[in-house]
Homo-oligomer: 220 residues x 4
DNA sequence: CATGAATGAGAGTTCATTCAT
DNA sequence: TATGAATGAACTCTCATTCAT
């Protein structure tokens, strides 16, 4: 007889029943771990903490993960996955450089309000092993390159005022990444609002002054 | 006879002689600790690590600091001290709102390239004890309030285009705070360049479009 | 396959098998700790000492006790438990004041030859945390009050010669508590002998001189 | 210029002036150490604690004592010295066995209210090194033997009722030694009162019932 | 002499991880 | 499968003791 789990968050409830999809359980561990890592930092979160919040025992965690770092890495992976989706969507999305940047800001800001996304930019990379650290750094560089390329597109098609794409990208990325440090799910600003406002505000800072000239996008 | 310390960084050399200004030694510990905290995170930096880099033994550290957290707190304090200086300077500085924001960005960006400054925004506040955490949070809110007030001034005196000061402040703060995550002393961009460029770029995003109207500052 | 434990004291053997009653193991730790505390003093007994004597490792102790002081407190608790039993028995026991005092002396002397009982009066209360210290002091006062009340009863019912109950109680308590400083399990005097002799000797010092008058207990 | 020491206890003041009798300083250390040992137990008293209470530095202590244990041993020695005086006085003192016992109780009770005396019976002998422990134990046995011999004298000269001198001595010694556990200088009972009352009460417990027969002391 | 500084050894405690059942 | 028990390694911190001045 499964315990009454009506009042528990779903990822805690995942362990209530023995015959539950193991994938779901793995996911539940990750959700809980991410929560805790963001609350208390990775270093101060013990495997016991994770197990306790899930109402399971510590060794049970080792059925789903080889060790603590694997949990951390997986949190990163899920987070970067979310970002990857954004990048792909935008790549397919046709439009001006400015529009791409705007879309990026909007979506990325949203990701920064989701726990796994927050992990990527809020947790301390220094807690990763050298290998994983390398991967993460590489991925972060990729995001940066992409954002710069969107900006460059905008400069080229004259939707964005001439500027140093590197500095602009750093500014935008910084503003966005910082969201995960101050965003609170129950706070005054909803994720949606934040995303919308940031998209508008940051884009305005970039946009080329409106002239009679149209953007230089071929065929549009 | 003091050891030959010509080849050591100054803050390591501070411990070469037994009778050296204790203040200097305390400072040396802090510098080294800040370095390590930024390299490896607070949690993964042991007192031994700090001692070893200074070529002293672990217990010697306890002559200068009551415990590990006191070192962390002191790093924060030195960092916030740097920021405090900025805020005071700008407060005295007369000028338009936009000018104040620009001055803030310039100086703050510089602080974010200095280790102690980086500590404030890069280390994990969750590693602080509740008391210290409270203080730090309070101080961070203060910085935020100040930046918003500068922006509001700019809106009022028409040097800054109408916008939500809260969102604008978050964006700017984020862009600036993020510097301490990617800045490298030996990197392509010097602190000076970063500060200058950020001041120009971010300000441009805020500035009211140039019209014939002059800013509403008395006597201008 | 459990190790051969035939030759080990029972409380050491408790850890021979992984799946042994945890209560038994807890108890085994306490017995060993009490032994060591009495041998070497609490301060000079390290957790390692306790673990070694049990042939386990130090951290294993932390499965059963939160910290070293909890072990100490538990030793006290077991000891005071023994005394509590005495007090309750005597309270139910009907008889003259002198008989109650005699019963108390006899039983208490016996407790002072048992390790846990010895702990209460032999270990240094100053090693307890303020909270626990308070509890212990309170309990010791209780014992004192009880003994005094028995004596007072005796004075009232004329089985005990008039005297200052306070001083008398201090004398008796002192004589009894001191047992735990000199008693040796393998010594010349057995616990039984000590208890019997102390009961007789100390009682004689108190008893009212035999007169024709009977004690003032109804029906006697 | 010596500091104003009017308000300090004399043994703290001993260090106020550089040119003070070193013997006095040694003594001052001992007084302070004894105080602390009784307050917090030997183990929990650090050399720093002692130094701080004397307003000197830790290494200065090592001018007067080789190590911490020497301080402890010296406390014991001063305490046993006080007891030794008693024993000698009584040895010279002519009188019945009962009178000797009474004198012993009176004087010994007084010693148990003096810090150095308290140390001997209150501190944990287990904190002594094997050598010192041997000495102390030997001395304690000597005291016991003496007390027993006084009692035996009393039995022989018929001032003390027949009894087992061993048990009687243990009782009396216990009652007396326990004083140092509950005595408080500022408490309700003064040292004088305690000594007087104990002498009377304990002696009464021993005394042979008054008969027409006189004690068998020659010439009385 | 006296002291600030330094240290080696060891304390209690925590924790990621792995047995043994 | 899942878990209570156990461990080794590491950490922070303390302290008696000794240099170096």
């Amino acid at each position: 007889m499964p315990k009454d789990t009506a009042l528990l968050p779903t990822h805690v409830a995942a362990f209530a029943n023995r015959r539950r999809d193991p994938g779901t359980k793995r996911e539940a561990v990750l959700k809980t771990a991410a929560e805790l890592f963001l609350e208390k930092s990775y270093g101060r979160t013990s495997m016991n903490d994770v197990a306790q919040r899930l109402s399971i025992t510590k060794p049970a965690l080792y059925h789903y993960f080889r060790n603590k770092e694997e949990i951390l890495i997986e949190c990163y992976r899920l987070g970067t996955g979310l970002i990857e989706e954004i990048l792909n969507e935008i790549a397919e999305h046709c439009g001006t450089g400015l529009e791409k940047v705007e879309a990026f800001i909007y979506s990325y800001a949203n990701v920064m309000t989701v726990n796994f996304g927050r992990c990527v930019m809020r947790l301390d990379d220094a807690d990763l092993s050298p290998d994983a650290l390398g991967e993460v750094r590489k991925y972060k560089r990729k995001i940066d390159r992409r954002l710069r390329s969107f900006i460059q597109e905008g400069i080229d098609d004259r939707t964005i005022a001439p500027c140093d794409p590197k500095i602009a990208a750093f500014s935008i990325a910084g503003a966005l990444n910082w969201i995960c440090h101050w965003y609170e799910p129950e706070g005054a600003l909803s994720a949606e609002e934040i995303a919308t406002q940031f998209a508008r505000t940051l884009t305005r800072g970039l946009a080329a002054p409106r002239t009679s000239a149209r953007p230089r996008v071929a065929g549009k």
